[in-house]
Symmetry: C2
Subunit: 216 residues, 2 copies
DNA sequence: GCATATTTGTCCGTATGTATA
DNA sequence: CTATACATACGGACAAATATG
């Protein structure tokens, strides 16, 4: 007990961070039963600390709890994905104006597209998916609202969870690399109208692809 | 233990509900130190359960924790209020179109205005404030996005916390009763453009009033 | 359908570190 | 600086619900 590899501040938050990352990386698959005793011994913390971490993750939508049955990595439904895209269609266009008026923001969007392209060249498709999500989160962030940014963080974390429930990561992310580049370039060029319509059709297409991947 | 005053399901959630309501009602004022031991004995639950409830409320933004000093009812800052209104200016206009196209939704908005008017006649100004928040939340809800709705619920809960930090509830809410009625009527009439500009000036004015109330 | 083992939900006592009087 | 009060985290315990054979 005396020595602990983790700093002594907010142990439950740290446990939640570990689980959050493992879920995001696909190591803990959707539907997996997270046993309290197993995790507490594995991480070297008390069972109660694990329970606190669970509660944090439940609030973030990464974990679900069933009465007296335990905690499970969340399985996203088709309805969840539909709602996520409904929300995206409302939120993301809000960021086009601000980023079109600020070349620094628009340039940052293109940088993210470039990093996605690098990952694609190496065939790291899950990384491409992450970069794609990062691009759209950056778009929302250009609204400069801390609360909207926090919400979009959670929104895209849930969407990533849906990605993990589909099989072929390449088919899921490759088509949207160039589409994202087009959107970013239209924003940099200040063509707000074209960027908006391009974004709208992107979202329609992407939603269909994700749902198809989950059904198949 | 055998008997327990609270039902045995989700005790932490129930404790959180109790605290949430007491905070919303102003019984637990912003800045108040929430002592674990005091609450655990008062509510007849263990300190661990209280801690879990705290963690839920921290995630909702109702409570803040300071390192090794404990949990406190959140005190909203001027910057918080600015960000809340920045978010409102982005989110609320999204609901005007949908509610203008659906007479049922628009009618519901006017019903809320009416209930606020009844509360005002009885001088229940805090209730007027709650109804005013309900109106704007209903506006966002007309976007029919579950996630956007959840976020707006949290957003308006935070704003209510800011309301509690101002002195005069009447001065804070009375001017906006008629303003809200005007907005709701413009939406019902289908005059989207006027509703948008009226909402925009409402938000500007309301932000100024809240911040003035917090400063004074 | 039933008995047993497992797991969760809850609580207690306690040790340790930290901030305040 | 000491003392007190408190938060943090741990281990152990038990009842209730669930899963398993």
């Amino acid at each position: 007990m005396g020595l602990d590899p983790l700093q002594r501040s907010r142990t439950a938050e740290q446990v939640a961070s570990v689980l959050r990352r493992r879920i995001a990386d696909g190591l803990l698959e959707p539907g997996l039963w997270l046993k309290e005793d197993e995790l507490s011994t594995a991480l070297g913390v008390s069972r109660h600390t694990v329970r606190e971490a669970f509660q944090l993750l439940v609030h973030e939508g990464m974990v679900v709890r069933a009465q007296h049955r335990g905690a499970f990595v969340r399985e996203m439904s088709i309805d969840d994905v539909s709602d996520i895209f409904r929300t995206r269609r409302l939120m993301e266009p809000l960021g086009i104006g601000p980023s079109a008026r600020d070349k620094v923001l628009a340039g940052a969007l293109l940088d993210i597209v470039d990093s996605a392209a690098v990952a694609a060249e190496h065939g790291r498709w899950r990384e491409v998916g992450t970069a794609n999500l990062d691009l759209h989160r950056a778009l929302v962030r250009s609204c400069r609202s801390a609360r909207l940014d926090r919400m979009s963080g959670q929104l895209f974390a849930e969407l990533r969870l849906a990605f993990l429930m589909t099989g072929d990561a390449q088919a899921l992310h490759e088509p949207y690399l160039e589409w994202n580049r087009r959107i970013a370039e239209l924003i940099l060029a200040g063509d707000v109208g074209s960027a908006e319509s391009e974004l709208a059709s992107y979202l329609t297409d992407s939603e269909r692809t994700v749902i198809a991947g989950m059904s198949g």
